[in-house]
Amino acid sequence: MRRVITATVQNRSGVLNRVTGLLHKRQFNIESISVGRTETDSISKMTFVVEVPDHQKLEQLVKQLNKQIDVLKVSDITDKAIVARELALIKVVSNSQLRNEIQGIIEPFRASIIDVSRDSLTVQVTGKTDKVEALIDLLRPYGIKELARTGLTAFLRGHQPQVTDLPSYSILK
């Protein structure tokens, strides 16, 4: 199962190492991870996309993360109403003839060209992972020279639908 997990953590040195080290030690497969500051000074937020085999392993992952002293809160937000975005920079082989053609491809994705050189151009796209991947697939035939992705970052929407029979992973609360 592919799950989106967020963790709020104390912004202390070594915290990223603690968390990734833990996931590695317990053999969890991280697809992407993004980290950044939040509205509160001393607190950062991490978003992981992980591939876990089953619910039992997922529960372990959440509990083990929770056990870290610098980790304040862990949520599996996969099944909630969320906004989730990632950003990709894609450097594509191109010349002046192709530029318009590529422009036409990226427009429906609301992506933009942010750098141009004689034999390449760089596209910036933001969105959900499947959208980003769809665009990458469309650009691949032109020749991708370089690709960089931030990994997903996400949080809950302001409004959550009422029916929330989500599995609960904390026996404490």
Partner: protein
């Protein structure tokens, strides 16, 4: 802490350096015993300790691994965190095995390591090692002090984290410039750990569920683990078992949490547990696990483990529940709180005569057994003799291997906190230094270190400490001239190809002891042992006994790797 020292620090000048502040923080925590070894990066700390030497008993083990295992032994029998100090680089890396061991067995330690000065961290400076990187996966938490004024708060946090919830080791790495700096800052000792709030009280709904399951059960069994000992819940456990007539088995680390001679006791379960205990776990319809983490040495092949049972698991660490075994009734709680609650809500359950009869029959038909030997000492018999000579009430530490299993099987522990062994990591070299720590924590009790001839040679340099501190530890070397446990597996599973497991060349352990001015004895026959054993335990000082035992004896019964609890081999014919 001595009274003079306290008044001196109260009336005397304020602490002067970071190191003084550290030492004052240790005094404030009530620390009176430190296991440490000096070196460049901790020179300022050792200077501060020198000034405060009235306040501490400093134990200079002869190798840092000895320090940390001694601190573990101290922590295991006293319940207080063991405090360790080592220098940067090699001093710190020599602690790694002990820290990992304490992490596995949930022992509270607070370990201070020196670090190179902040200005050169990351430059491969002399004796620099990435202690934070190395110890992150093997500690409950770790800190590198970045500012002098943080020292008192970090020390407080470290002791709090090490000794609450699921206990464990905490490392505090202190750059040398911080401990050497003159201190004139203000500091605050208040701390707030929003990410660390262990649950200690059980959820009443889950308690009710368990009480209901208990009434319905026809074949219940209690499994007591080290969590009963950490929660100081042995008397509640006994009351609970007696109230509901529940048969009780323990893990290796839970030995002593329930009296081994009680009529409800089935003995230890698992790979080298009793037949009755393992059959009980296999056949039961309700398994109540209190403070055991369902380790693979206990469960055997998980597909066969408690397969007919509803499993209830009481554990202070939510991550242990459901980790290995599917759990219907999860109770996140301290063991004592949960047992007290259970005692107050659950009505006496109906008696399970049929089940008890069955288990009693297993015990009667398939008890632990070994073949008597006339000329040579059987290691099992040796343990029984030690039990007899110490009225079953000594603190027993062991190393790792066959002797460890025989000690677990034949020293019927009746009291809590008398058993000190390395379970999760299985660390050879643990037993002897752990005995030193245990004796320091309990100076008036008899402490016996039961060790193998192999493992003893990993840390025997600590004989110096027996001599220096006059500690009356009785060291019994169960000498089979082999790495016995390895040899046994090679005999059974590798067609007797004894690859590097025979120790034909050994020191003269008697002379070795004598060279440390310690009494050394060698016994080779059962008569000799009978004759000398009262003398060993009446003697008012340390003794090292080289006890020559049957060389090819094996530990039975056992569950072969990959097999279930119902597939024991070597059961009494």
């Amino acid at each position: 802490m001595s009274v003079e020292a306290k008044s001196e620090t109260q009336t005397g000048a304020k602490p002067k350096t970071g190191a003084d502040l550290l030492v004052q923080s240790l005094i404030d925590e009530g620390v009176d015993t430190i296991f440490g070894y000096p070196g460049g990066a901790v020179l300022p700390i050792y200077d501060a300790l020198y000034k405060a030497r009235e306040s501490f008993d400093h134990i200079l083990a002869r190798h840092e691994q000895g320090s940390v295992h001694a601190a573990e032994g101290y922590a295991r029998v006293s319940g207080k965190p063991g405090v360790v100090i080592a220098t940067s680089g090699p001093g710190a890396t020599n602690l790694v095995t002990g820290i990992a061991d304490a992490m596995m067995d949930s022992l509270p330690l607070v370990v201070f390591t020196g670090q190179v000065a902040r200005s050169v961290i990351g430059t491969d400076a002399f004796q620099e090692a990435d202690v934070m990187g190395i110890t992150t996966p093997i500690t409950k938490h770790n800190y590198q002090v970045q500012s002098l004024s943080d020292i008192p708060r970090i020390v407080k946090e470290a002791f709090h984290i090490a000794s609450t919830g699921r206990k464990g080791p905490v490392v505090v790495d202190i750059p040398k410039d911080i401990s050497a700096t003159i201190h004139d800052e203000n500091y605050d000792t208040d701390f707030h750990l929003p990410g660390y709030q262990p649950t200690t009280k059980p959820n009443p709904l889950q308690i009710k569920k368990l009480a209901d399951a208990l009434v319905r059960s026809k074949k219940p069994v209690l499994l007591a683990g080290a969590g009963v000992l950490h929660g100081e819940a042995s008397s509640q456990l006994k009351a609970f078992a007696v109230k509901h007539s529940l048969p009780v088995t323990t893990t290796l680390l839970g030995l002593g949490s329930f009296p081994g001679d009680h009529e409800l006791s089935l003995g230890m379960a698992g790979m080298h547990g009793t037949y009755a205990a393992n059959k009980a776990l296999y056949e039961c319809d309700l398994l109540i696990n209190i403070g055991a983490r369902f380790d693979d040495r206990l469960t055997g092949n998980l597909n066969h483990f408690a397969k007919y049972a509803t499993v209830a698991h009481i554990d202070i660490d939510p991550a242990e529940i459901g980790k290995n075994v599917e759990t219907k009734i999860p109770i996140v709680s301290d063991s004592k709180a949960a047992l007290s609650e259970l005692l107050s809500v659950a009505n006496e359950s109906p008696k399970h005569y049929e089940w008890m009869d069955k288990l009693n029959a297993y015990q009667a038909e398939c008890p632990l057994w070994y073949e008597d030997s006339q000329e040579k000492i059987s290691p099992q018999w040796l343990i029984q003799k030690i039990h007899e000579a110490t009225d079953g009430d000594a603190i027993v530490t062991t190393d790792v291997g066959q002797h460890q299993m025989w000690a677990a099987q034949y020293y019927k522990f009746t009291n809590a906190d008398k058993w000190v062994t390395s379970g999760g990591l299985g660390t050879m070299g643990f037993g002897f230094p752990a005995a030193i720590g245990a004796q320091l924590a309990k100076p008036d009790e008899t402490v016996v270190a039961i060790v193998g001839d192999g493992g003893f040679q990993m840390t025997l340099q600590e004989l110096s400490l027996l001599q220096e501190k006059g500690l009356p530890v009785k060291v019994i070397i169960v000498n089979n001239e082999a790495l016995g446990m390895v040899r046994q597996w090679q005999e059974k599973f590798y067609d007797e190809r004894y690859s590097e497991s025979l120790l034909t060349v050994q020191p003269d352990f008697v002379k070795l002891a004598e060279s440390y001015q310690i009494r050394g004895l060698r016994v080779e026959s059962p008569e000799e042992l009978e004759h000398i054993i009262p003398d060993i335990f009446n003697y008012n000082g340390p003794v090292v006994v080289d006890c020559r035992v049957l060389k090819l004896e094996n530990v039975y019964p056992m569950i072969a790797p990959g097999k279930g609890l119902h597939e024991m081999i070597g059961v009494k014919p």
